[in-house]
């Protein structure tokens, strides 16, 4: 943590600008805020968390760059100049990697060359492709939170979804696309749902905590997929732990020609977000689910079956996470490889929290993380910054979101009125 110290010297300039902005937004009487004001003020903490995370990430990149220290030995001014250059190069590469280079896009547009245009727009669409599993995963964790469950097992559910979808994708032949693709997709959702159902059932019946059980289920899923990909599901004549390719009829439709991989999965994810919203806030079922999450005791008195709510919540959450894995197999990779997921499950927790466990928020934060993850690949290539910086950013954003008091202290924000902030999950031992 000593790495972060110099940041306190840099902060004052930053803080003033942000502070003014925030005071603009927050100012006014505390009570009787308009709807727009409320939305803005609820955005303040997430936006500032992202901003602070990126800022600290920048400081971290500078502090781990040997060039910075070399320049510092020449003179302090030189050091600051180099620090600024490092920041511009790294975050510039991140931006171009995430959205494409504006000049290239412009040039391609004016030339009218479609191949060049596809090449120029590729990063932007690739960010959407990267965001898609995050939407599914984020929805999974968010739905869990709303039912008072901590689904830390999205990763394992994702693996199970991928296994089921892959199997249906390659083993069934001769089906038309409009049957095979939905079938494979549903199979994947089912695989995830099964993996969510088990801890849900165990919690409802025995009170075993879902956090521990979902962690255990994660590793069971990993080992299971290891075995399948080295055994029954291994590609014939292959020595690598990979499954056979899925049939063309099971693939999610891609809208553009190569290299753009943007596919139908993105819209399925948006549809799912809407469905989750509809289920939770517009149906009686969803109401009772949220009641289980907010106050299980009250739900019980109101005649809602808490056990059913828990089981249903975990199953649905598992299904959504399963779709994330399904999406990767049917839309991006077309086969399953060992350890194919790069921690989507844990990222999903950050996404759900950043999005305040609301489907709309989840979409926004998934887009952000998709862009970051995709841009970081380019940052690694262009600026030599290891892609793992994304995890560091993510962890910091997660901390700031989870402990909004830190952000409020830094930026001197108003404390929310009593009851304004919804509690997210019931604690470990409490019920």
């Amino acid at each position: 943590m000593s790495d972060e110290k110099p940041q306190s010297e840099e902060k004052p300039q930053e803080k003033d600008a942000a502070q003014i902005f925030i005071e603009e937004v927050i100012a006014g009487p505390a009570g009787g805020q308009s709807r727009g004001r409320r939305i803005l003020s609820s955005l303040a903490v997430p936006v500032l968390a992202i901003f602070t995370g990126l800022l600290l990430g920048g400081v971290f990149i500078i502090l781990t760059s040997p060039q910075f220290y070399e320049a510092l030995q020449v003179s302090v001014v030189q050091g600051i100049k180099t620090a600024w250059e490092i920041l511009v190069v790294s975050y510039g590469a991140l931006f171009i990697g995430a959205f494409g280079s504006p000049s290239e896009i412009l040039a391609a547009l004016t030339s009218g060359d479609t191949a060049a245009l596809r090449e120029a727009l590729y990063p932007f669409f690739e960010s959407l492709v990267a965001a898609t599993p995050y939407i599914f995963g984020g929805l999974s964790v968010a739905l869990g939170f709303r039912v008072g469950l901590f689904n830390i097992g999205a990763e394992g559910q994702l693996f199970m979804g991928a296994i089921f979808a892959t199997y249906v994708g390659y083993s069934i032949t001769g089906l038309p696309m409009f049957i095979h693709m939905p079938l494979a997709f549903l199979a994947g959702a089912l695989g995830g749902a099964l993996w969510g159902f088990i801890p849900g059932f165990l919690k409802a019946r025995t009170g075993a905590h879902e956090v521990i059980n979902t962690i255990m289920m994660n590793y069971i899923a990993f080992r299971l997929s290891d075995w399948l990909l080295n055994g029954p599901m291994q590609r014939p004549e292959s020595f690598n732990p990979v499954s056979p390719n899925i049939m063309d009829s099971a693939k999610l439709y891609r809208f553009f020609q190569d290299p753009i991989r943007f596919h139908l999965g993105f819209f399925i994810a948006l549809l799912m977000a809407w469905l989750v919203y509809w289920l939770l806030w517009k149906t009686k079922w969803g109401f009772s689910l949220r009641m289980v999450g907010l106050n299980p005791r009250a739900a019980r008195y109101a005649g809602v079956s808490v056990a059913m709510g828990i089981i249903l919540g975990m199953t649905l959450a598992g299904g959504l996470a399963g779709m994330a894995g399904t999406n990767e197999v049917l839309g991006v990779n077309y086969y399953m490889a060992q350890a194919f997921s790069s921690g989507y499950g844990f990222d999903s927790i950050a996404i759900a929290l950043l999005g305040n466990s609301h489907p709309a928020g989840v979409i926004l934060s998934a887009l952000l993380f998709g862009a970051l993850r995709n841009g970081a690949t380019n940052m690694q290539l262009a600026a030599g910054i290891p892609i793992d910086i994304i995890n560091i950013l993510q962890a910091m954003i997660l901390v700031f979101i989870a402990a909004p008091a830190i952000i409020r202290t830094i930026y001197r924000l108003r404390e929310p009125a009593e009851g304004e902030e919804e509690g997210l999950v019931t604690s470990w031992g409490g019920d």
């Binding site: 927790i349 793992d388 962890a395």
Partner: protein
């Protein structure tokens, strides 16, 4: 002390548990006969157990047993113990857990006898790797115990161990001192502990989120530093060396267990010391009593004048330091060098070991040994030509933890206030 131990003991002799245990013993015995005995068709098949680890001088000769006879005896013993457990009033009572351990050991022995029928297996070597694999798991579990007994859930063991592993390797390589590496690992891990403590005690953040954040952060930071520096300059930054084994005179010449237990490096001895220290500390000192009371009923503890916040901070700090030692074991205790994400989920197995061991130091050491065993036998199955895929053995820690947690075989009991942030009344 009284309230919790009383409840634990009452639970141990409950009638349901009595017959569930009895049936379990019988099932295990029957399984030995059904799966193992029946598959040995050829009469006179022998199983040879090697009793000396590689490199040590033989103290006792290797043992050769007739496979079928051994299996049948073990099966009969298990079934017999099961019947006694069911028929005898109150079964084995408070010794049930010991009998369970014995039955589990017999089942494992039967498994080995069957797997190595007609061949030989090095029992000493197996015990040795089991212990070595159990060391980081148990250290992680001890870290969890320290945190959770005071009421702070720690799922960041994985992250803390990873950080400890990386820092130990880096610092030990740069300073050429393994001890400095160990110290740095403990400090780095303690820093994460401070973050976890401040977030979950001061800011009352959800402790699972805080732990997840630390895990993500550690994976990111260690991989970043590894990719940016360690991999680039392996020779200078990632070649720390390993603590040499220290032979304890007299003890190390005990037959069989001597070379396995008493010719190890200092980190393994640290584990033994910590086991005793934490056990005594938890159950026989004022500090431990206070800590447990804070974990069980913080309000009552507060009323009695115990500083809940301070107790929790200290526990989390100590816990994270122990995790740091566990992390250091990966790099300067066994392989001399850091690889990205080298803990590979062992922090989470530690969590499982802690639960399986019922939040007790020695219980979790037993669990660590069991999980270490399933890990070390998994890699030998292929050599022995056993048809069971090793992945299924690797799943056992997770599955048995879920079973224990579900209360099928005796319930493990977490501290009552585990994971609940404490708020002072009116504060």
């Amino acid at each position: 002390m009284a309230a919790t131990t009383m409840r634990r003991e009452i639970e141990l002799v409950s009638p349901t548990r009595q017959w569930v245990m009895g049936i379990l013993f019988v099932i295990l015995g029957a399984a030995i006969w059904f799966f193992f005995s029946r598959s040995i068709i050829e009469p006179g098949t022998l199983t040879k157990f090697g009793m000396t680890i590689g490199g040590a001088t033989a103290t006792i000769p290797d043992i050769t047993v007739p496979s079928l006879l051994t299996l049948n005896i073990l099966a009969a013993l298990c079934i017999g113990l099961g019947i006694i457990q069911i028929v005898k009033p109150r079964g084995f009572g408070r010794y049930t857990n010991w009998v369970l351990g014995a039955v589990a050991a017999m089942f494992v022995l039967a498994f080995l006898t069957w797997a190595a029928a007609g061949k030989s297996i090095n029992l000493a070597g197996l015990a040795n790797t089991t212990l070595l694999k159990a060391v980081p798991l148990t250290l992680g579990a001890l870290s969890g115990i320290l945190c959770e007994r005071s009421g702070v859930v720690n799922i960041a063991i994985e992250g803390m161990m990873l950080m400890g592993a990386m820092v130990a390797s880096l610092v030990a390589s740069v300073t050429d001192s393994l001890w400095l590496g160990l110290l740095a690992a403990v400090m780095a891990s303690a820093m994460l502990g401070v973050v976890h403590g401040v977030l979950s005690i001061k800011y009352k953040t959800n402790q699972i989120i805080s732990g997840t954040a630390i895990n993500i952060f550690s994976i990111g930071l260690t991989s970043y530093i590894s990719a940016r520096f360690l991999q680039v300059n392996q020779q200078e930054l990632n070649t720390p060396g390993v603590f040499p084994p220290i032979e304890i005179p007299l003890l190390s010449s005990i037959p069989f267990i001597g070379p396995i237990l008493f010719n190890k490096n200092v980190l393994v001895y640290a584990l033994f010391a910590l086991l005793v220290l934490i056990h005594v500390g938890l159950y026989y000192t004022r500090w431990g009593l206070r800590m447990r009371s804070v974990g069980e009923h913080p309000r009552a503890a507060d009323t009695l004048g115990i500083n809940v916040f301070r107790t929790r901070y200290i526990s989390v700090l100590l816990g994270s330091m122990v995790a740091g030692i566990g992390g250091a074991y990966f790099t300067i205790g066994s392989v001399s060098g850091f690889d990205e994400v080298m803990t590979a989920g062992r922090g989470f197995i530690s969590l499982a070991a802690m639960i399986f061991g019922n939040w007790n130091p020695f219980g979790s050491f037993g669990a660590g040994l069991l999980f270490g065993f399933s890990d070390s036998i998994a890699s030998r199955l292929a050599i022995l030509g056993v048809k069971i895929p090793s992945e299924f053995l690797l799943m056992t820690p997770y599955i048995v933890t879920m079973i224990v947690l579900a209360g099928v075989v005796g319930r493990s009991k977490m501290p009552a206030a585990d994971g609940v942030p404490y708020e002072k009344e009116g504060g």
